[in-house]
Amino acid sequence: MNRLIMSVLILLCSAGSTLGEKKDTCVDCHQTLNKSHAATVKGMEQDVHARYGLSCADCHGGDPTDEDMMVSMDPRRGYLGVPTGEQIPEFCGRCHADAAYIRRFKPRQRVDQLELYWTSVHGQRHRKGDRKVAQCVSCHGVHGILPGSDPRSPVYPANIPRTCARCHSDAGLMAGYGIPTNQFDKYQGSVHGRALLERGVRGAPACHDCHGNHGAAPPGVRSVSNICGQCHPANRELLGQSPHEKPFEEMGLAGCKTCHRHHDIQHPTDSLLGTEKGSVCISCHKSGSGGYRAAVDMRGAIEGLKAKRDAAERLIVRAEQAGMEMSQAKFDLNEVGNFLTRARTSVHAFSPPKTEEVVKQGEALADTTIQKGEHALAELQARRRGFAGFLVILLAAGVGLFLKIKDVDRREGV
């Protein structure tokens, strides 16, 4: 009797669980097939589409409710099959270019990826029948697609350089295109690459920040300054007003890249400016020319401000180490540092008077800061001299007391 009750209960429980779930014969069947079919199902467990309740049939069509494979995968039931490489952009675009459909899941999600893709070098070549170029799954993967915000995703900002490098560092794959394959190696050693890949600065630019992502293309010569200007707007603005803007355009030189290079861009130092070895100015401006003199003047002005800032810093550190309260002077010193940054930025106007104007303001504040440091050190000396005087009085009082003690001891017979 007990066994009967138990059997009924088990039956009811399993029936309940089956009734409560939506039937998906794709999953049930593919799980039992060979390793690659099973892997597809396994990958979908973490897929971003699955998280929004989408299943195999939402992309591949068919009827997942029918257990008969011939029926469920019948084209008459809407089964589309596996898209070919040629079909993939449009295949994904059926949903991703459909604003009304996407809004149901993620209203803020962009729907212009397909449109942009057709403008990209990848998309244009794809249209011409080149099947080696990247399309959606090349970067995002398939059956296990993760959102771009997931650090495991190949399109997570810090992973993008390596994702692009999978193709662009492959000499064999790139052979037919006549483009270099050392971009990733250069980028890795650049100021941007070190920030993103070594220090984990998520705001540091990766490939897509300059080239675009779905609309990826090499920026034209005239666009370079605008691209750098996305993050360096002040430099961009100054360069646009500078005497370099027109000749660069006429000579076909790509703005910022002309002096700073691109994939292997390094942290700029003052040595880039001026006429010494290592400066970029002397590669175009010959000795005695106006540009040569301007480079000398701007570098000289910046060095002057640096020297004053360093002098102020030395004084403040000395005074602070001696225990003087220097917080206001340190605040001013920080502001001098800001003027130095502004002066360095101002060189992009390539106008010595503009740089000198900023430098003058910085130097004036540096002078005040130096005075504060000197005043603090003078005050320190005055305190020590004062203490010496105090010590003399104290010793005199001590000697007087000692003599008095001797005197009263003698009188009291102690």
Partner: protein, 362 residues
Amino acid sequence: MEAKTRSKVLNWLDERLQVRVALSFLARKAVPMHRHSIWYYFGGMALFLFSVQVVTGILLLLYYAPTAEAAFESVQFIVTEVRFGWLIRSIHSWAANLMVAMVFVHMLSVLLLKAYRKPREMTWVTGVLLFFLTLGFGFSGSLLPWNTLAFFATKVGTGLVNTVPVVGHHLLVIQRGGEDVTGATLKRFFGLHVAVLPILTLAVLLLHLLLIQFQGMSVPPSVQDQEDRMKKMPFFPNFLLRDALGWLGAFGLVVGLAVFFPRELGVKADPFAPAPAGIRPEWYFLFMFQTLKLAPSHILFLEGEMVVFLLFGLCGLGLILVPFLDARSRRGERSPLFTALSILMILYIVTMTLVGHLVKPA
């Protein structure tokens, strides 16, 4: 002529205040001279440093603003703009540390020399209360500059009472004036530091000093058998002049420390910033802090912190009750157990303070 004027002034004062009674008392007061007499000077030294604190504290009050918005800036103003403000603030800070050290030495010397024994039990009790009040001054005063280190040290320190069963949380809120250390805490600590503690200290101190005057100096048990033939030094002026010489030296030391090692002001407290590494209390709380750090998370079924906190509370109570617990000393017998316990306590405090100071913070 001079003697005549002095006599006239004395007569005038005596008619109104009976000063001759006090003067004749002072003239009779004598200090026993033996090999432990040096320890008699530390109480006076602590008293002198307390006076320095009162004077410098009043001067600091002229400019100090006890609000979270202005406290740090007002201290900054004192040390940078006010004439000799840096000196006054540094003296206040250094003298506070020296005063705590002197109170420690004075109390421990009294403990080891068994000066608490009958009939000086109440002198001891008031002395221990003064010791606690001194620590209270140190704890409340350290928050007043409202800098980062003081802020977080106060946060940790005040948070400890939360471990007390039943009333812990209420005590925490009373201390802080809310759940967290805020401007309300600063105001409470300021009030405590400049009003409540000084009044209590003055009252207990007056009683402590009166008891010493009534009972005279205690002679340690080890030399008590020689008391009858022991030489005595008149308190006034011989002993007092020696005291004054010590005070002069202490004052010179404090000023020297203030000139050569002015106390840092640090960075203004930011309640929203994460606690910086290496937060430590003042050195005189370090032995307790280190014990708490070494305590396991649980002792039996109780929280480790709570057990340590309650143990320290019991130790404090035990310290007050020493004269009543040490029955052998009360009867005038040798009391090796209490000597051993006292030495153990001193060794524990010194070791834990050194460990706390030398161990690099995580």
